[in-house]
């Protein structure tokens, strides 16, 4: 059985993680600047848990908020990209195992991806 040490695969995974982390930090930074410019002077209220508004709890709502250039919406989109980064890594691993014809690990990886998708989609579309 061939071991998965293919340099090309590792390069792709490395690039995937770098792009994901960079894209998410860029979005979070832009969103933070927009938020602080608009509301930096407001009193902070993290002491009491109120829960986020429904618009910032689901994927579609977050995208809508980000598109109207709301600061928290852009940050939340960045956080969504951050969460999606390891998920993308798992998804890519399925392809890599398939290329090696390692069906056992295609199945194992698919189970992990299914659990991740279940969790993310529980956030609602």
């Amino acid at each position: 059985m061939s071991r998965w040490t293919d340099v090309r695969t590792e390069h792709v995974i490395g690039a995937l993680l770098r792009i994901g982390v960079l894209a998410s930090t860029a979005l979070v930074l832009v969103g933070a600047v927009v938020t602080l410019v608009g509301h930096g002077g407001d009193p902070a209220a993290f002491q009491v848990f109120q829960g986020e508004p429904p618009a910032l709890r689901g994927i579609a709502g977050i995208v809508r908020e980000a598109l109207v250039f709301s600061g928290p919406g852009i940050i939340q989109l960045g956080l969504l990209v951050l969460v999606a980064t390891p998920v993308a890594r798992v998804a890519f691993s399925i392809l890599a195992f398939a290329a090696e014809r390692d069906l056992t690990y295609v199945a194992i990886t698919a189970v992990v991806l299914a659990v991740l998708c279940f969790s993310l989609l529980s956030a609602g579309l």
Partner: protein
């Protein structure tokens, strides 16, 4: 306090937390939750949500840098992620249903264990044990480069390791931490994998585990963007700086100092959790 002042202070604190977390190998989450809850009096729900995101950021950032080291075992990691992701969803679901005081008490206990675990001696080679049937069937073995050449290893006691991984995932989802220490214990002590393989594979698993709980936290409204932004933006440069300095510092003294800090945080979390202040 205004949002601007609070954001700048939290950014600075997260920078330090990321630095300490990566220097000690404990991970940023173990430091960030007490920092937010005890120092900034942030509600524990929000603190744990923000910490979970910082865990994903540092895990992905570090993995991007070290993915080519050839040490992490992707098959072993992927197989065990079935346990950690299921555990993480269960832990996150529990977190949304119990009082924050109880979560704080569990957090304090886990901190104490993590502080003790940071004094383990990593470089004891494992004696070869009986072959494990599951390990053979799933190809849970590998080779890693060592100073003396190539070292072969095979996972042992796979069911026990899998069970501990489910607990590690559960604690990750409940407390918003990476559970790196417990993952390394499961792979190193229980499955008898080489320490270097255990620690790099653990880092690879942490991001995926935390992503599994993050969905639950998002849906419940526990991920606050305005709080999470300075945490994520602070912890990443802090962690990268710590990783860069790691080979150059005398870790023995640092470990004692940081373990003392962690014990203080643990006692404080236990006390405030038990007296209903968190």
């Amino acid at each position: 306090m205004t949002i601007l002042t609070m954001s700048l202070l939290i950014w600075g604190g997260s920078l330090v937390a990321g630095f300490i977390g990566s220097l000690t190998g404990l991970g940023g989450g173990v430091v960030i939750v007490p920092l937010l809850a005890l120092v900034f009096h942030v509600d524990l729900h929000y603190a744990i949500g923000a910490s979970l995101l910082s865990v994903i950021a540092t895990s992905s950032g570090a993995a991007a840098a070290y993915v080519r080291d050839g040490l992490s075992n992707i098959r072993i990691g992927m197989f065990l992620e079935i346990a950690t992701t299921l555990g993480a969803i269960a832990g996150a679901a529990i977190a949304t249903h119990v009082a924050t005081g109880a979560v704080a008490v569990v957090f304090g206990l886990v901190l104490l264990v993590a502080a003790a675990a940071s004094f383990r001696h990593p470089d004891v080679p494992h004696a070869a044990g009986p072959p494990d049937r599951i390990a053979a069937a799933l190809g849970l073995h590998g080779i890693y480069p060592d100073l003396h050449g190539q070292v072969q290893y095979t996972a042992q006691r796979v069911p026990a390791g899998f069970g501990i991984m489910a607990i590690a995932g559960g604690l990750s989802g409940l407390l918003g931490i990476g559970s790196g220490a417990l993952k390394v214990i499961a792979m190193d002590d229980v499955m008898r994998l080489p320490f270097k393989v255990s620690s790099t594979t653990s880092n690879f698993m942490i991001g995926v585990t935390a992503a599994a709980s993050a969905g639950v936290y998002l849906a419940r409204g526990y991920l606050d963007p305005v709080l999470a932004a300075p945490v994520v933006l602070g912890i990443l440069p802090g962690a990268l700086l710590g990783a860069r300095l790691l080979p150059r510092v005398h870790s023995r003294v640092l470990r004692v100092v940081f373990a003392a800090v962690i014990v203080v945080l643990a006692v404080e979390m236990l006390y405030q959790g038990a007296t209903g202040r968190l």
